[in-house]
């Protein structure tokens, strides 16, 4: 039994990667790169620039170690911050040591019989959050409305990430800077695409503003 010396080095070397090459890191034209502070540094309401293409659910992308391509991509994402392999490293979720609080919200998916909880304090950017949701709900195609041309029709159904804020309104995820989102989000729902036209966001949906 040979050991493969040095052949199986850790998957990622985030510093050396070209952003545009990976699926998960696309920005709007002219916007700045993702930083580890995510949207917080950028002042305006539309201040963040990460978009995520969460077209997934295909087992055929699994490599022999059971890792999906998305998990590998997720870890190759933004430098300076670690995109999540779900549940790794194994630190207990409820007590984020060294952090002031943890912000657990329930995540529901239309049509799926189960809920998950995520701790929003564990992420720094929308990209990380959506990558993690992608891992957890790996059967569904989750589409980010900022990225229409990347629509994946594999499953035929798309899910749009939405959330309920402090005022009880349902908003599209990605509408406000990250920190504002963390503070105001009460729960998350991945809605079937057909229902999103009924949402009443504070800012108009992105697709209506795009020229």
């Amino acid at each position: 039994m040979s050991s493969e010396n040095g052949k199986r080095l850790p998957e990622t070397d985030a510093a050396g990667l070209n952003f545009e090459a990976t699926e998960l890191t696309l920005g709007l034209p002219g916007k700045s790169r993702v930083t580890s502070d995510g949207g917080a540094k950028l002042g305006s309401k539309r201040g963040f620039s990460e978009t995520v293409d969460l077209s997934l659910g295909d087992k055929k992308d699994t490599n022999k170690l059971g890792q999906t391509q998305s998990q590998i991509d997720a870890r190759e994402a933004a430098p300076g911050s670690k995109a999540q392999v779900v549940g790794w490293p194994p630190v207990r979720g409820y007590a984020k040591r060294g952090k002031k609080s943890c912000k657990y919200v329930k995540v529901a998916v239309d049509g799926a019989p189960y809920l998950r909880k995520v701790d929003l304090e564990m992420y720094n950017t929308y990209q990380q959050l959506l990558a993690s949701l992608e891992d957890m709900f790996s059967c569904f195609t989750i589409r980010n409305f900022l990225n229409e041309k990347k629509m994946d029709q594999v499953n035929g159904i798309e899910y749009v990430p939405t959330y309920e804020d402090k005022d009880g309104d349902w908003m599209l995820v990605g509408d406000v800077p990250w920190q504002m989102f963390v503070e105001s989000c009460k729960r998350i729902r991945l809605m079937k695409n057909t229902e999103t036209v009924e949402l009443a966001p504070r800012t108009p949906p992105k697709w209506s503003r795009r020229s």
Binding site: M1, E4, R8, L65, G66, R92, Y94, R97
Partner: protein, 586 residues
């Protein structure tokens, strides 16, 4: 030749002798000696430990043990701690409570771990068990402060209420005020998991004041620093104390008041809490440090120099939980100050960051292992490791019983040689002959499992992630580890062959968890059909597993032995594989 009866002692004598036999293992051994011992033992067993609530049914338990006073139950698999088990998976305690209300009216103690407890359960407990004394909810969820209010209002003989690490819904209502003014029997209260606004301070102070037997008090974050002195002065007999937020603007009168209050606690042996700690207030605890045996600083974001100063005052320390801010230098200081150290846990301050943020390496762990002769239990998060360090640890600390190492980046090789860490972990299992629990990390081939199978004969629990190369790895463990009870594996290329070849072994274990491995759906079905005393559960969030070919790997698999048959409280995303699977699912 006629055999003599094993024993013809009168029942009263047997019962008296059995009353000295406390451990479950011994009780179980006693019960299989002969029929009369079985009968006598079952009538006088008072404490029950059920490591998997689905291994047996409440009715079976009650039928065999009619006079139980204390029960401990565990529900979800361990990996649920890291959010890998979806909500709704199971672990409901209500069916147990409902049965016990009728069968055990004199039940005194309930201890639950990773179970779903509802307010309805708590209300049942409050109303039905007149002599109820101890409630421990470790890492549980599903209940609110309303349920706690019911317990507080009705359990006149309550001694212990411990909510450690549970997830409690705050519905307001000042549940603590529901302890009547006549209630004085509290000995232990742990509310450290409660959120910010769930405790009324004045009710807490009055409660502490009138419960003169209080020995353990662990407050939650909401209790401010300046209230601690008042509380401590009312409970100078405390042995175990957990602060709330340990932060305030530095004021000399607050400080001296606090130091004086700590000084008056001559029995204090254990401290915890320390959220948001301000280093300037740490010296207030110096009066008690020389007697401290346990210190939990895992929420304290203090840096190494302050930690070193503190640890110098704690020569009797046996147990330390701390963040990696302690760094190698702090661990070095620990190793020279605390020669009685038995347990060390170092947690990551920035587990999800890519860059290393603290100067903590394998050297810190090595220095403690070299210098602390009583060290038995280690949990250590770090970013680099070498075989040489592991071998040094193994050779110098053969008395280790628990060794859990988490190298933060998966599949990290020995940073000196770039080789896998097989040899290092191999040394650990070879030298530490009493090792009961092991967690692996780093780059590992099948070889490490060969070592584990060969040497780890006392190993009871093994955690594996991102390791191994083939089924041979899993086969080594299942065929070699004679004492193995719990095995949990994620993201490792283990599959069908090893499981099928060792299926009988699975009946000797409590449970096996495998997620993101290579076990096919077909094998799951086969195991479920073949092994009637195993529950083979497939967790699949993408839909019924038989909508895909049999060769497809399942996402999550949980196998556990059970005499109760398949459970029926499963959510839609969990399927039990058994003979009826095909019939039920069509």
């Amino acid at each position: 030749m006629r055999k003599k009866m094993a024993c013809s002692l009168p029942d009263e004598v047997l019962e008296h002798v059995f009353s000295f036999i406390r451990s479950d293992k011994d009780r179980n051994a006693v019960s299989v000696v002969c029929k009369s011992w079985y009968e006598m033992e079952r009538w006088c067993r008072r404490r029950l430990f059920i490591g998997n609530c689905y291994a047996v049914s409440p009715r079976m338990v009650i039928r065999r043990f009619p006079e139980v006073r204390s029960i401990e139950l565990k529900g979800k698999p361990h990996f649920a701690d890291y959010n890998w088990v979806p909500d709704g998976w199971g672990g409901y305690v209500l069916p147990w409570i409902v049965e016990m209300v009728g069968a055990y009216p004199w039940l005194e103690e309930i201890r639950l771990k990773r179970m779903v407890v509802t307010d309805e359960c708590l209300e049942h407990i409050a109303k039905s068990f007149k002599n109820f004394k101890v409630l421990v909810l470790f890492s549980c969820e599903g209940f609110s402060t309303d349920g706690l209010a019911a317990i507080a209002a009705s359990c006149k003989n309550l001694r212990e209420l411990d909510l450690r690490e549970s997830d409690v819904d705050d519905l307001g209502g000042h549940w603590l005020s529901h302890f009547p003014e006549t209630y004085t029997s509290l000995v232990s209260l742990n509310i450290s998991c409660l959120g910010s606004d769930e405790v009324s301070l004045s009710a807490l102070e009055r409660l502490v004041g009138r419960c003169t037997n209080l020995r353990t008090l662990r407050l939650n974050r909401a209790v401010p620093l300046d209230k601690i002195a008042y509380i401590l002065r009312r409970a100078p007999q405390l042995v175990d104390f957990g602060t709330g937020t340990y932060s305030a603007d530095l004021q000399t009168d607050v400080f001296s008041n606090l130091a004086g209050a700590f000084y008056s606690c001559k029995e204090l042996r254990s401290l915890s809490g320390f959220w948001d700690v301000v280093p300037a207030y740490l010296p207030a605890i110096y009066p008690v440090c020389s007697r401290l045996t346990s210190l939990n600083l895992s929420y304290a974001t203090i840096q190494s120099p302050d930690l070193i100063k503190l640890l110098r005052h704690c020569p009797s320390l046996q147990r330390l939980l701390v963040l990696d801010y302690i760094e190698d230098s702090g661990l070095e200081a620990l190793s020279s100050s605390c020669k009685d150290l038995q347990e060390l846990r170092v947690f990551p301050s920035d587990p999800f960051g890519v860059e290393r943020n603290v100067s903590l390496t394998e050297l810190g762990l090595v220095s403690v292992c070299l210098a602390c002769p009583k060290l038995q239990s280690v949990l250590y998060f770090c970013r680099q490791m070498s075989n040489a360090a592991l071998v040094t640890i193994a050779q110098n600390r053969p008395n280790l019983t628990r060794f859990r190492l988490c190298i933060i980046e998966p599949r990290t090789a020995d940073y000196l040689t770039l080789e896998p860490l097989d040899v290092g972990f191999g040394a650990i299992v070879e030298h530490c002959k009493d090792l009961r629990r092991l967690s692996l990390s780093g780059l590992l081939t099948d070889r490490v499992f060969e070592y584990i199978g060969r040497y780890a004969k006392k190993l009871e629990m093994l955690s594996v992630a991102f390791a191994g190369e083939s089924d041979l790895g899993l086969h080594h463990v299942l065929s070699g580890c004679e004492s193995l009870r719990k095995l949990e594996i994620r993201d490792s290329p283990f599959g069908d062959k090893a499981l099928l070849a060792n299926s009988a072994k699975l009946e000797t274990m409590r449970s096996l968890w495998m997620s993101s491995c290579s076990v096919s759906f077909g094998t799951c079905k086969l195991l479920g059909q073949k092994m009637s005393r195993l529950n083979v559960e497939v967790i699949d969030e993408c839909g019924p597993p038989d909508s895909r070919p049999d060769v497809c790997p399942v996402n999550k698999l949980y196998i556990y032995r059970s005499v109760a048959g398949p459970r029926f409280d499963m959510p839609p995303f969990v399927w039990t594989m058994d003979e009826d699977y095909a019939l039920r699912d069509s």
